[in-house]
């Protein structure tokens, strides 16, 4: 009985605390919002590229990841280029925006949509490891990028996306 009363008290306390906190669920972005955050006070121009077979092969080789898209769309802003990539994490898709500087380094990574359970969602501090990286061997979970504890597939998916985008950026610039 004593335990039951204690449990009721605890549950009530949790509900009161939860209710008193303001709502601030994880905010994800639309493509327009992401572009606005990457290029504030600027209207990025959309650029479309059709890769030749040679360019596609070169991008595959440079990135080391599977790549089949011959159509590349990017948004050119004052200080870089924004690419969007949708890929599978575990069984469900994720969309990220990767902003690349003109000299081919990662300037920003934003997750726009993430359908896997929230436990696997990469934290901002993990994403920050990718900043200023260029396409080289160090851009790997086995080298300079530390894996996400308990969510290695989420980390691998984003590292692969950054490698892919940097390789595409290199072959079309």
């Amino acid at each position: 009985m004593e335990h039951r009363a204690r449990l009721h008290l605890l549950v009530a306390a949790v509900v009161v605390v939860a209710a008193s906190l303001s709502a601030s669920a994880r905010v994800l972005m639309t493509q327009d919002q992401a572009l606005a955050s990457a290029f504030p006070n600027a209207k990025p121009s959309r650029q479309t590229f059709f890769l030749t077979k040679q360019q596609l092969d070169a991008a595959r080789k440079e990135s080391g990841v599977e790549l089949n898209e011959q159509l590349v769309i990017r948004y050119a802003g004052p200080n870089g280029f924004a690419y969007f990539d949708t890929h599978r994490v575990r069984t469900l898709p994720e969309t990220v925006m990767i902003v690349v500087t003109p000299d081919g380094r990662i300037d920003r990574v934003e997750i726009l949509s993430f359908d896997e359970p929230t436990d696997y969602f990469p934290k901002r501090r993990w994403l920050d490891q990718l900043l200023h990286r260029k396409l080289d061997d160090d851009l790997s979970l086995k080298r300079a990028i530390r894996p996400i504890s308990g969510a290695s597939l989420s980390g691998q998916a984003i590292v692969n996306a950054t490698r892919k985008v940097l390789a595409l950026h290199h072959v079309i610039r």
Binding site: A18, A23, R26, L28, I73, D115, P117, R143, S152, Q156
Partner: protein
């Protein structure tokens, strides 16, 4: 003279005829070119339309939010072949697990795992809900969880997919000292505060009627199956993430296990853990200590005498290390080693004896190969005090 004029006129006629013919040819070629240009323009328009369509598709994908309602699905499993020095080899599908989740709303999520152990219930297998929990996401620092929850104790209990640990067997310390996979009905709060994360729940306690000497408290977990709820427990965990890929943390558990037997049977368990992965290196260590109150009364109720006594105190530790020698590409090949030391009877109640067999030291040496990050083959050799063993394991996660 007439002849010359005739020749000149004939030449002019031929020339004008040739000119007319070449003009006609040029006009025809011009027409063909115009047609081709028109076809190219048409093609360009089609490409533009297709481009817009693709872009629209991509945009609509990006406009989804992570919190939209929807089903999530996954799974993992592992097969193992054991060949002990003393005894017959065995092969088993240890577990096949199907994960299912549903996002009811941006804030309310359900997650569950349905596990089939040992392939078939016609033999020694079982089917169980490993966890089934509802999360109410308030803010990163504070969220609410309830249901059959995984106890946040140790490393393996919450992260037990075969691709996440090194050897073919889970550490024995995280089996009989921490009774993995340990779930109970209850609820509480969890969240992240800066580089710290925490979870704390109130749950059903254990059931001491299934405690014994060799397996310790392992069988006392109730797993949400018609669980006794007379004795409850409190569990709390905190982890520090000093940098990415590295965790230092600990947890404490305190709860009754009598469940109406006339005594409390208080179980206390505490552990500290560290886990780090960097540059292809994997390091992990854990130490755990526990105690059971009313151990003599539990022995009496469970009919345990002499050195069959449950441990009044118990504990163990392990450390393991591995290094991925394939540093480039998607494949990995990781030689590893683990050492563990544990005793389910560090002390026993007065009038009972310890069984030295329950004081175990195990070395494991092996190799894990991942052709892709979601599948693994492991082969290792365990050296225990009295029985060495070869293991081969196959694991997957999706």
């Amino acid at each position: 003279m007439f002849k010359r004029i005739t020749v000149a006129l004939a030449t002019m006629l031929i020339a004008s005829s040739t000119f007319a013919q070449s003009t006609e040819a040029v006009e025809q070629r011009l027409k063909a070119l115009q047609d081709k240009v028109a076809a190219i323009d048409e093609l360009k328009q089609e490409i533009d339309v297709l481009t817009k369509e693709i872009e629209t598709l991509k945009s609509s994908a990006t406009e989804k939010t992570a919190s939209e309602p929807g089903v999530t699905f996954g799974g993992y499993g592992e097969f193992r072949y054991n060949n002990p020095e003393h005894g017959d080899p065995t092969a088993d599908m240890l577990r096949g697990v199907l994960y299912a989740g549903y996002k009811f709303s941006p804030r309310v999520h359900f997650n569950s795992e349905l596990e089939v152990e040992h392939a078939s219930t016609e033999h020694s297998g079982s089917v169980s809900l490993e966890f089934a929990q509802l999360d109410y996401l308030v803010r990163p620092e504070l969220n609410v969880r309830a249901g059959i929850v995984l106890m946040p104790v140790g490393i393996i209990n919450e992260q037990h997919e075969p691709t996440t640990y090194l050897a073919s067997r889970r550490p024995l310390v995280e089996d009989v000292i921490i009774p993995t996979t340990w779930s109970e009905i209850g609820g509480g709060v969890f969240g992240d505060i800066g580089r710290f994360s925490y979870r704390t729940y109130v749950t059903t306690g254990m059931d001491s009627s299934r405690f014994e000497s060799e397996e310790g408290i392992h069988e006392g977990k109730q797993s949400g199956s018609e669980a006794g709820a007379k004795d409850l427990a409190v569990v709390a965990r905190a982890d520090w993430h000093p940098f990415e890929g590295t965790i230092f943390g600990g947890s404490i558990y305190n709860g009754g296990s009598g469940q109406g037997a006339g005594f409390k049977g208080r179980v206390r368990l505490a552990e500290l853990h560290a886990d780090s992965k960097f540059n292809g290196v994997s390091l992990r260590a854990l130490v755990a200590r526990g105690s059971v109150g009313d151990a003599a009364l539990i022995n009496e109720r469970n009919g345990l005498v002499g050195n069959e006594s449950i441990g009044k105190t118990f504990g163990g530790w392990y450390t393991e290390a591995g290094y991925d020698v394939l540093k480039d590409g998607g494949m990995s090949l990781t030689p590893y080693m683990r050492y563990e030391s544990l005793d389910t009877q560090r002390s026993v109640p007065l009038g009972f004896e310890r069984n030295p067999e329950n004081n175990r030291r195990i070395w494991t040496f092996g190799m894990a190969f991942k052709p892709i990050s979601q599948t693994v083959v492991k082969i290792d050799w365990e050296k225990a005090r009295r029985n060495d063993q070869w293991n081969i394991a196959l694991g997957y996660i999706f």
